[in-house]
């Protein structure tokens, strides 16, 4: 069996989780396994998936980007405003530029001022969120540009454009992370920043690029949301950052940095998407949906932390000493 595939199946327990949820839903809901519904799921997941892809790079670096939701909303508003007077392509370019710019600022804050990314991006999140409201005066900004709307509403070969975008981003960034020198730098820097520096890796530049990528993808996700609604909403991205981070972690990427992959992230995003979809199909009480979702996240991560975790949970004895596996970042947020 192809070793790559084997790794995915053995190491990536998130896949099992996805299958599990999928099977359950297929059994209890006739609609779930219809192509149209699955396309819905993919469509609904695309935004989270884009945000999570960028977030994966940042998190493997041992950083975090809480601002993606705000960047999404901010660049969406600006794009919409630009589109009022400018051709589609200009709007797109400006939007992407804004996203990249926000990422650049985050990257500079984290590298040059050595702020913890958690607080730096928390601050930019608040700032960009406010600016989006200020620019739009709190009002949604309508987008009438037909070509732009197609980004969210058209289909190619029966598949919605956002899904195609998700696929492209997945493949490209997947290769970037797994197969290029930049990707190796990302892992190395996240695994041991000091060593990376001493090995001559341009640690700061690597981090800055990762944040820029995260910002770019947030802007792209903003296009999708805006195009689907034909409107840019200043608050469109609120809360999406946590969704994206959850997807990344469910996918097995470690917050301690140095380990993770993009396949896991996509799977994680789909787990969340499928659960949402399922709960709606089954008309689960809206109040309980958060409960279910939280439960699924817990369960998925437990599963990823492999069976021992379960035993540990119910057994007296503490889990195997971390020494057994080197730098096991599961232990805690920080030192692993």
């Amino acid at each position: 069996m192809n070793p790559r595939l084997r790794t995915v199946l053995t190491e990536l327990r998130a896949v099992w989780m996805l299958l599990l949820v999928g099977i359950v839903l297929t059994v209890v809901s006739p609609v779930f396994l219809t192509s149209s519904n699955l396309l819905n799921v993919a469509l609904a997941t695309s935004v989270t998936a884009l945000l999570a892809s960028g977030q994966t790079f940042v998190i493997i670096l041992g950083e975090i980007d809480l601002s993606v939701g705000a960047v999404l909303g901010f660049s969406a508003i600006i794009t919409a405003l630009v589109l009022r007077s400018q051709p589609t392509v200009v709007g797109l370019l400006v939007g992407l530029a804004i996203g990249a710019g926000c990422g650049l600022v985050n990257g500079l804050l984290v590298t040059r001022t050595r702020m913890p990314s958690f607080i730096a991006t928390l601050a930019t999140m608040s700032i960009l969120g406010g600016l989006a409201l200020q620019l739009s005066q709190g009002n949604p900004v309508a987008v009438t540009d037909y070509d732009f709307q197609n980004i969210g509403q058209a289909r190619a070969a029966g598949v919605p454009v956002p899904v195609w975008l998700m696929i492209v981003v997945f493949v490209v960034s997947g290769l970037l992370l797994a197969r290029t020198r930049f990707g190796r730098y990302v892992y190395a820097t996240g695994d041991n920043g000091e060593a990376a520096k001493l090995s001559g890796i341009p640690v700061h530049r690597v981090k800055i690029w990762a944040f820029v990528l995260s910002g770019l993808l947030a802007a792209l996700a903003g296009f999708i949301v805006t195009a689907r609604l034909s409107t840019a909403e200043p608050t469109a991205g609120t809360g999406l950052e946590l969704e994206a981070i959850a997807a990344v972690i469910i996918g097995g990427t470690s917050l301690a940095g140095g380990r993770g992959n993009l396949i896991g992230t996509i799977v994680g995003a789909f787990i969340l998407g499928v659960v949402d979809n399922g709960m709606n199909l089954l008309n689960v009480s809206p109040f309980l949906q958060d409960v279910v979702k939280g439960g699924v996240i817990l369960f998925a991560v437990l599963l990823d932390r492999n069976a021992t975790a379960f035993r540990a949970l119910f057994s007296r004895r503490r889990p195997p000493a971390p020494t057994a596996e080197p730098a096991s970042p599961q232990d805690d947020l920080v030192r692993g």
């Binding site: 020198r181 730098y185 695994d191 020494t323 730098a327």
Partner: protein, 498 residues
Amino acid sequence: MRLHVNGVVKRFGDNTVLDGVDLEVGAGEVVALVGENGAGKSTLTRVISGAYRPDGGGLAIDGDPVSFRHPDDAMAHGIQVIYQEFRQNLFPNLSVAENLFVREEGRRFGKTLVAKAKMAEETTKLLSGMGMHIDPRAKVGRLRVAEQQLVEIAKAMTHRLKLLILDEPTAALDGQESEELFRQVRRLRADGVAIVYITHRLDEVFALADRVVVLRDGIVALSGRTTELEAPGLVAAMVGRTVDNLFPKQGNGREEIALSVRGLGRAGVFTGIDFDVHAGEILGLGGVLGSGRGDVLRALFGLDRVDAGTVTAAGKPALARSPAAAIRAGIAYLTPDRQAEGLCVGRPVRENLTLAALAGYTGPLGFVRRRKEKQAVAELVEQLHVRAASTEVVVSTLSGGNQQKALFGKWLLTEPTVLLLEEPTRGVDVGAKAEIYRLMNELTARGVAIVLVSSDLPELVEMSDRVLVLRQGRIAAHLHGGEVTQEAVLHHALEAAS
């Protein structure tokens, strides 16, 4: 190439660590850099590697001055460093191959996309060339200390190598592995690489080096050809006084048994370990790295679970399920990995020293008795000659050797009846070593039983009253009195191999 270090000055705050150091090393030459803990050896290393920028003086290569802004610049000149805490410079979650080629810039493994298979091949070639056979896809964090050390060296060789600096490379190796390392060093020298070799082991100095440079208090105290120097002279230059007897061994063994181990076993690591340690006695555990010596200690300290066996300390059952329990039973364990397991390097020296004995410094409502604590710490620092700006500075600012002394001090405060020592003098200078040995004597004189695991054979042999040799997790030999010789230990440790 020829590297000149000209009057380099380096300060940390108002602590002048390097005060105008000159050093010269040329192609195909090995220069040994020795000196007390805190003399500034590693700091000098970091200046040469571009990790630190000197506050004065400078470097010159083949006559023309160079200034390195960061490690990249030094590497561009073919300068590679294996740092003292070398494990901090590996990527535990990355594969061996990725560690070796992490900085591979060329198109060697494909233009845009990296050909991992090719990378693995190259790695296997390179390692087997060094007599190493490990899976290039294995995560480095899973390798043994020695293997990691060699990976680090292999990594240096993937670059165009002109100058290699090794900072105490054998600190974590046992005799056999050291030999392997020496082979590599000699090979590189033959290939015309310039080598700076930092060590606290004089035998290595005379075995490897063409010239020696002794640092003391940030200046060059002595420099000359090894052929023209004698060990005592070197030691005197290093510590500023003559150390008459390096191993001041006393026999303090008593009748009563402090620790008694019967049939101790841990699946896959060791089995059927039986021994008694008498109060005031030093029992050595010999064996090659991976023989399970360390694991026996870890098990006795409650870090690893055992599958079989009984342990009694001072007559009471003492099979610890956790370090806390072990400490309560009067057992202390000095880990060989002070950075990862030994010290909270971000906390002050004081807090580290009292950490394991804090109960003794706690008053009502769990409040810590500050005055009592400060006093005890002051005395200890005095007794161990720990070199630190103050007891309030964070441990990470101490030199390797002084960190080791601090770690030792932490366990003294718990006033143990059984002291498990693993590599107690790793990275400690001769002067400090002598102090630690004297300390061991004091303790045994007070009736403390010591179990000693050490890859430093002379140390093991000279300091132990008896030696148990482990091989593949079993007791291979029990050496008494006259039988306790380096040859005997090696023989029993390696028998399987030979």
